[in-house]
Amino acid sequence: MNVGCRRWLVIAVFNLTGATLSGERDQLPAVLNLVVGNQSKEAAAMLAAGAVADARERELARAIVAMAAPPLSEQRVTELGKALEVLADGRDDLAAEAHYLRARLFQLHQSEPDWDRASAWYRMLAERQPENHWAQLGLVKLGLILLHAPGPDDATARISAAAALPPRIREAELRRDLHLQIAWAGLAWERPRAEVLRHLLAADEIGGLIGISGEDLVMQIAELSLREGQTAQARRYFERFLREFRTSPRNFNVRQRLAELELLEQGVRTP
């Protein structure tokens, strides 16, 4: 029951295994699991507690642990950037991950984002290791920059540039995320509904969205289809909404919309 005791037990076990010839690298998953679990202080303590066999993995873990306690000072960002650039010099998964994280420092962790350099690093990674997960994730982040970073207010050009990326993203869930964001940017910049619907439907086809977004997606396809005159598709998605999201406070609104749709189909009145 006592997590504090368990933590010390983990550290003790780590120290024991650290003394074995084969055990040194085994501590890294424990450190990394602490980071995944939002326990950055404990991860830093565990990482500092002993040697790690693989120097590159250790250096990357150090960078990850440091990034787990944001915001970072400018000096720290510079130090981490240099370390990651060294690690990124390779063709393996670790190098790809380091490369990706270097771009993230440019985009998210500096006090002033450097959109151009972040974009360049994402593009470079996608050229170098196009199939690697970090390159694929980088394309999603590149898409977000293309959609929203400061620059000319040319919505058509922004959406077009971002829309060129999904065909290059082979990992379905990442492709879904970018389709969704292109659709939502399209709504914000008042792009034609048919164009928005294409991206929403592409995201829905992949599925698996988390949080309120899954519910919003089904609702948007239903309502925008109705406004676009695609009544059969609107009905299908409204009905699906009621089936899948039985606890939503929007259910009354949906039922009213279905009633209006019924009237529309009978030619009685326009919703």
């Binding site: 029951m1 980071v35 929203h148 995320d177 988390i210 309120i212 309502e223 606890t247």
Partner: protein, 504 residues
């Protein structure tokens, strides 16, 4: 081992409910002591912030996303409960909920968390109760005024009661009010009636096709000039606000909800508009019988707001509340989760409901007739549409300007002008606050995603679990990050737009 649970529910009822649950839990777990800490609402934010920052906060704390100036707190200090919520609650063994994942045992499947989680897809809280907004009625006074105990069902019927009350006061020398008044319950009522009487406008502003207006949409649509407080629908809604204002005692803006409750308890007001969380206090302390009425509705033929309503509006919903969060830095998280599970098991939540008089949050928990009146069927539009409360700045703006209704020069036009004078700045500040929360949510996820990816590379663990975790975190970050970027882009656009509208 001792764990602490802190909340701000000082009303009569919830403290008793907690005490009953704690007694039973300590019987089942003799090695554990649970301490209930009831912190007055006025100091709760400061108390919580300082204790979290000093690593001295209780294991379990009540929190709400609407608490002003606290939007960064969940991601920084609270632990996601997803892992636990995916599995059955062990305290439901032997009940009809035994095999349901904990999440599915809540009436609304923790919808508020789904809606407002600072990290999409993550559930940070469990909830204890369901609530709605109601008119609490002094039955004796209503009968004396109208000769009937019947609830007014429409705004026109409510206006009728107001007219009868004026006559009653004239003929009897009494000075009763239609509505017990304070800034808190007046503004809550005004919020509800503005949202409920502008549903046509809300549907028009919903360009995203969500059949709802989230706070960020309300702020953004204001900045694009698509609505203002001089819009015909909004102006009509402010007329309604003025009617509410006129039915409360002068100076109500200067007093808090306790004063309104005292006014009602003295028999000086026919109705007290409040959340059902006040019901236990009212029922236990009042010296007269109290009825609980649904909120009178604006109808299509209403002379003030009729043209602007789509139909009846929701005066409550299925959503559960009284959110309890797990302190990420606690050394007793396992026990704390165990207590949270008991608290929201069928047995624990029934104990809480029975002793607090509050509606349960958990399915299959028996409900008494008293509590049944608090539940709202699915019978009204709900566009959310927080025109007066899209963020802390908009809320403060309304509070600062409400007095413009009063006095010889006061009125709806003056209030609308006062609100419009400050709303651009408020909307921009509220959007910036939301952008910052989204950015703060995205920031620490880089490390967590990278760590999950490194775990996958190193192998030897739960590869499928690591992959699922990484995928979930990536999806959450993509959403938060995109939202932060989109709002930043909107703010960049709004700045020149504002200049264009204000410069000669």
């Amino acid at each position: 081992m001792t764990i602490r649970v802190a909340h701000w529910q000082t009303e009569v009822g919830p403290g008793d409910g907690f005490a009953a649950v704690i007694r039973r839990y300590e019987e089942l777990n003799p090695g554990v002591r649970v301490v209930q800490m009831i912190i007055p609402p006025r100091v709760y934010r400061q108390w919580l912030r300082s204790n979290l920052a000093g690593d001295k906060a209780p294991e379990i704390v009540e929190f709400g996303v609407w608490l002003e100036g606290m939007t960064d707190v969940p991601v920084r200090y609270f632990e996601s409960l997803n892992h636990h919520l995916a599995k059955p609650n062990p305290y439901n063994r032997g009940t009809v909920l035994a095999t349901d994942p904990w999440l599915k045992t809540f009436e609304d499947e923790l919808y508020e968390q789904k809606l407002n989680s600072p990290e999409p897809g993550q559930y940070y809280a469990i909830t204890l109760t369901r609530s709605s907004l109601r008119f609490f009625c002094n039955r004796d006074l209503l009968r004396a005024v109208t000769g009937s105990e019947a609830a007014p069902r429409t705004l026109e019927e409510l206006r009728g009661v107001a007219r009868q009350l004026a006559e009653f006061n004239r003929s009897s020398g009494a000075d009763a009010r239609l509505l017990a008044g304070s800034a808190d319950n007046a503004i809550a009522m005004m919020n509800l009636y503005i949202a409920g009487s502008t549903t046509r406008l809300s549907r028009d502003l919903d360009r995203e096709g969500l059949l709802a207006l989230y706070p960020r949409q309300v702020s953004w649509r204001y900045l694009t000039g698509e609505w203002s407080f001089r819009h015909p629908a909004m102006r009509a809604a402010l007329e309604l606000v003025a009617e509410i204002h006129a039915q409360m005692k002068p100076g109500y803006q200067q007093v808090g909800r306790d004063e309104a409750m005292r006014e009602f308890m003295r028999g000086a007001a026919v109705f007290f508009f409040a959340g059902t969380w006040e019901a236990t206090s009212l029922r236990r302390l009042a010296g007269f019988p109290i009825d609980v009425f649904r909120c009178p509705q604006a109808t299509a033929d209403d002379p003030v707001v009729g043209p602007h309503v789509l139909g009846p509006f929701a005066d409550g919903n299925n959503m559960t509340g009284f959110g309890l969060y797990l302190n990420k830095r606690s050394s007793a998280k396992t026990v704390a989760v165990d207590f949270m599970q008991f608290l929201t098991s069928r047995e624990g939540n029934e104990l809480f409901a029975r002793h607090s008089g509050w509606a349960p949050s958990v399915r299959e928990v028996p409900i008494t007739d008293d509590i049944r009146a608090f539940l709202t069927p699915e019978d009204g539009y709900s566009y959310v549409a927080p025109y007066l409360s899209a963020g802390g700045n908009a809320r403060a703006l309304f509070r600062r300007n409400l007095h413009l209704l009063a006095g010889p020069a006061g009125g709806v036009d003056r209030l609308a002008a006062g609100l419009d004078a400050g709303m651009r700045e408020a909307a921009m500040a509220d959007l910036e606050a939301e952008r910052k929360v989204a950015w703060l949510s995205a920031l620490p996820l880089d490390a967590r995603i990278a760590a999950a990816g490194a775990c996958l590379r190193l192998g030897g663990g739960d590869a499928a679990g690591d992959a699922a975790t990484r995928s979930r975190l990536e999806a959450a970050q993509n959403q938060s990050e995109a939202r932060a970027l989109l709002i930043a882009a909107q703010l960049r656009m709004a700045t020149p737009l504002e200049r264009a509208l204000t410069e000669p």
